[in-house]
Symmetry: C2
Subunit: 160 residues, 2 copies
DNA sequence: CTAATACCTCAACCTTACTTGAGGTCAAGT
DNA sequence: ACTTGACCTCAAGTAAGGTTGAGGTATTAG
């Protein structure tokens, strides 16, 4: 009875995993390359996944919906135990980690929203005073490259 | 008195615009290509911007911080009047448009957050029942490619 | 007038998250 | 045995949002 703790048998193919997760085969291969799953190979060189990898990939999908990058997800998955199948407690810990980030994002978006009227809505768009530019907010940072703001932006106005 | 409605004088170089907005010169050229600003050229072929373009680009920067894509921003900027310098009322209208989207995003993130404990936190990750996968939410949709979910994902469980 | 900047275009490169295709192998059914 | 379908690797393409560099022209300060 101790034998099914680990489920070393019952390895499944990439096609099965794709069916069960809704991911494409190519995406699963890509996720392997990204370090999100680490299937073994059979004698013929084909990938064999654990059933628990389905849950792992489901977690990846959910996390993406929450707006996390694959790298952020990988870091959290690396916190899972290697020697055993993750327990409810393990997942709950990660859930909390995400919840905290979501709380921050919601708070930031709410602040942004509240500032919007005062900043754009007034028509001044004065970035000197504009709270939307406060670099202390962990702002979106979607693209690459510098996104800084200095000095008096609007000083000389059009129509002058 | 009608002469300064349009401000045909006082055109400024791309370097000046870069200084005033904090954008790089290359980014401003890129934004021109994206249709976000449309500077004229002087006799030597160099770009000359209106002072109001600084405000326009400031709006672009703020909108990006709010999480909008350049295309979404362009569409909103295209709603600005072409014949005259935008008024406070014009900016306020766009502000409202963004505010509405932000309200939706905040609401969605909040729903997600509230579901997180029930879905990941319980450790089941059963995507059959998982509200986080509800496609009716305008979910993040960051990457490209299909992101669908079908059927019973977790049915055969590890350790089973 | 000349040197130093600032500006120009075009092409290539970067990251993230994948897809698509070519060319070849493995596994399963008959 | 043979055929089909699933699988393999590697290279290139896509989209967004830019940056970097090469090679050349404009403008400006002295």
């Amino acid at each position: 009875m101790g034998s099914n703790l680990q489920t070393n048998k019952e390895r499944i193919s990439i096609g099965r995993v794709a069916e069960r997760t809704g991911l494409s085969v190519s995406a699963i291969r890509f996720y392997e390359e990204a370090g999100l799953v680490t299937p073994v190979r059979n004698a013929g060189g084909q990938r064999r996944f654990l059933r628990s990898d389905i849950r792992r990939l489901s977690f990846v999908l959910i996390s993406q919906q929450l707006g996390f990058s694959l790298e952020e997800i990988r870091q959290r998955l690396d916190g899972l135990p290697r020697g055993r199948t993750p327990t409810q407690r393990d997942w709950a810990r990660m859930s909390k980690s995400f919840r905290d980030v979501l709380d921050d994002r919601i708070a930031m978006l709410t602040r942004m929203r509240n500032r919007l009227d005062g900043c754009i809505g007034c028509g001044c768009l004065s970035l000197t005073n504009c709270a939307l530019y406060n670099p202390n907010d962990e702002a979106s940072q979607q693209g690459s490259g510098p996104r800084y703001l200095v000095g008096d932006i609007i000083a000389g106005e059009d129509g002058g």
